[in-house]
Amino acid sequence: MMRRFRRFDRLASSRIRPIAMAAILLLTAVWIQTRKSPGVVLAQQGGAASQRQPIILDRPPARVLSDPNPVFRAVAIDTERGEMFMANDKESAGASILVYPTQFTPTDRIMEPRRRIAGPNTDLGMVCGLALSPQHGELYSVSGETGTLNVFSLQASGDVPPVRRLDGIIPRANAGVYLDAANDELWITTEHVNRVSAYRRTFQEEDEPLRYIQGPSTQLADPHGVYVDSEANEIYVTNHGNWRETQTGEGEVRGADSLTRSSLGYNVPGRALPLGPSTGKFLPASITVYSRTANGDAEPVRVIQGPRTRLDQPDGITQDPVTGEIVVANTGDDSVLFFARDATGNMLPVRVLQGTATKLQGPVGVSVDRRHNELWVASWDNHIAAVFPRTAHGDMAPLRVIRTAPENAPLASMGRIGAVAYDAKRDEILVPN
């Protein structure tokens, strides 16, 4: 046993052996000290585990690594009231919906929101998708963590509960939400199960979807943003390209009868799958377009995909109300891409907004303010929302920005982290999102 220990030590940490020996001596001394420390309550330790009284380790962290500054993910404009709603999914800054005026004097200073929706009663989770209806005075939010669709008043402020909440069979871990006002339908994308679902805007708590698109023919592959062109009767969905075969109906929360456990959360029951061939593959990023009335395992009517499109981790998507162009926040290369309304295949964007002057770093949300002829872009990494002329292109500076952190603050590198690991060779910690 000791020989194996030595081999492991030699292979894994030979460079730090002298340090390790010194550390052991030091730790022994520290251990003796800490046993006398008021921060350690020593309970009796019986010989048998069944009668054990645990040692209570009650002490504060020696260090805390986190970013206290909110970020902007989704953006939704209330043009009638001149307000911009932005989703902040940074939990270390308190997940929130922040509301700003659409028109303000340009400033480089941190700008306080007009109001914020935040707190335990809001049930925002890791809020990442927003839509709104000025007509009905409603704001809709989805979360990348929970399986709910929450509705707030457009005037909501503070720690208020949703006025309505969809919390039935709706799959968990949603990304985007869009209100098709013409047809009174809400559309939601679900990353984990490659699905787009439509619900009545007036849904009640446990409503079934009106219809959904899901299955191997759909080419949905890690879907993010969703937009409905109600004139053309088409649905646009951005896809990162991570693909696996999904069953139609997968991800719906139906207790032990749920088709599989995928997307349900670790502690939610569902059927186990038999061991079988894996189906996963990497597809190029894409925008898949469907008939608005498509249902089930429907093929897209066209797909925008290929190297000429420049699509690279596309996220938020909307439409220019004047030109009809499709506008995409292209996170992977810090750009906003504009495609012709009828674009298909490996087609070039008609214009691109990109460059250091734009200040865009990790753009994820886009929206067009038709009243003021402006394009809004949520730029996650550098804590800003940038406002451009609607027709902006090239390396153009924004007209103004809203920032939640000083310009020289570190980039927002951590979202909801999935794990933490320690690399002894480099004395570093690795934090995947």
Binding site: A12, S278, P410, K425, V431, N433
Partner: protein
């Protein structure tokens, strides 16, 4: 929603620190849901699962920016089904994947690339693998530990087929089982300790006191051989003093530091008493 990236910090980083490097971009093939990362100190690599594309990605230890993985394990023969975690056994050259969707643990060579079948599969009613979400390996003491729906179960490292666990930690005194939202479990071979993190509503492990009930996180430490419904040997509970907020775990045994990942936060606890060597 999180961004698909791995941020790397100096272990001494504090506050709103700047990462030493960030691995991100479409060439990296990461999904936005990377729930685990395992380091192979011998090959100087690390492995990350991509559940949406059913793949395990292997990167250089020094990977930076929009860098492609060294190799990718993916394909029909792998039987990978939404892999959410990966563990590395550098000593025996293997990786382990616990599969929540298929009640199984798959084992591959750690240099596997492409469409490679598992070398061993742990699966069957005797295994008590009910919704396994995490696996870790102690290559020194030949131990494998798996977090399941209601328990933390232990096997011999090389167990396969329908093998029964050798120890099972479960029950109200333990606070474990992911119906109590257990998340990560780590093994400390030199001290023969088991470190598990969970969130619990109700009675927290440990003696009665002001903080013995609640709705919060705790980290329990058990000793090898503990089985059944037993209190931990030591416990760090979420209290106003500890401010414990997470359930993702890593440690630096030499410094006596336990790293705890929460929602957009990493807390570092100096707990040298956990990392005593017993042999």
């Amino acid at each position: 929603m999180s961004q698909p990236r791995i941020s790397v910090y100096a272990s001494s980083a504090d506050g709103n620190a700047v990462p030493t490097r960030v691995i991100q971009g479409s060439r990296t093939r990461q999904a936005r849901t990377s729930h685990y990362l395992a380091i192979d100190p011998i090959r100087d690599e690390f492995a990350v699962p991509n559940p949406f594309a059913q793949a395990i990605l292997f990167f250089r230890g020094d990977a930076d920016g929009n860098e492609a993985p060294l190799r990718t394990l993916q394909g029909p023969k792998t039987l990978l089904s939404q892999p959410d975690n990966v563990a590395v056994d550098p000593l025996h050259g293997e990786i382990f994947v616990a599969q929540f969707t298929t009640d199984s643990v798959l084992v591959f060579p750690n240099d596997a690339a492409g469409d490679v079948p598992p070398t061993r599969i742990l699966h069957g009613p005797n295994t008590k693998l009910d919704g396994p979400i995490r696996v870790e390996v102690d290559p020194v003491n030949d131990l494998m530990v798996v977090t399941t729906r209601d328990a933390v179960v232990f096997f011999n490292r090389t167990d396969e087929g329908d093998a029964a666990p050798k120890w099972v930690l479960s029950g109200p005194k333990t606070g474990l089982g992911f119906s109590r939202i257990t998340r990560d479990v780590k093994l400390y071979p030199e001290g023969r300790k088991i470190i598990a993190a969970a969130r619990i509503r109700g009675r927290l492990p440990g003696p009665p006191g002001v903080d013995s009930f609640g709705d919060g996180h705790f980290i329990g430490v058990w000793q090898y051989g503990d089985t059944g419904d037993v209190e931990p040997w030591a416990v760090l509970r979420a209290t106003p003093h500890s401010q414990l907020m997470g359930r993702r775990l890593a440690f630096n045994k030499e410094a006596g530091d336990l790293f705890v990942g929460g929602d957009g936060i990493v807390q570092v606890y100096h707990l040298p008493e956990i990392f005593e060597r017993t042999e």
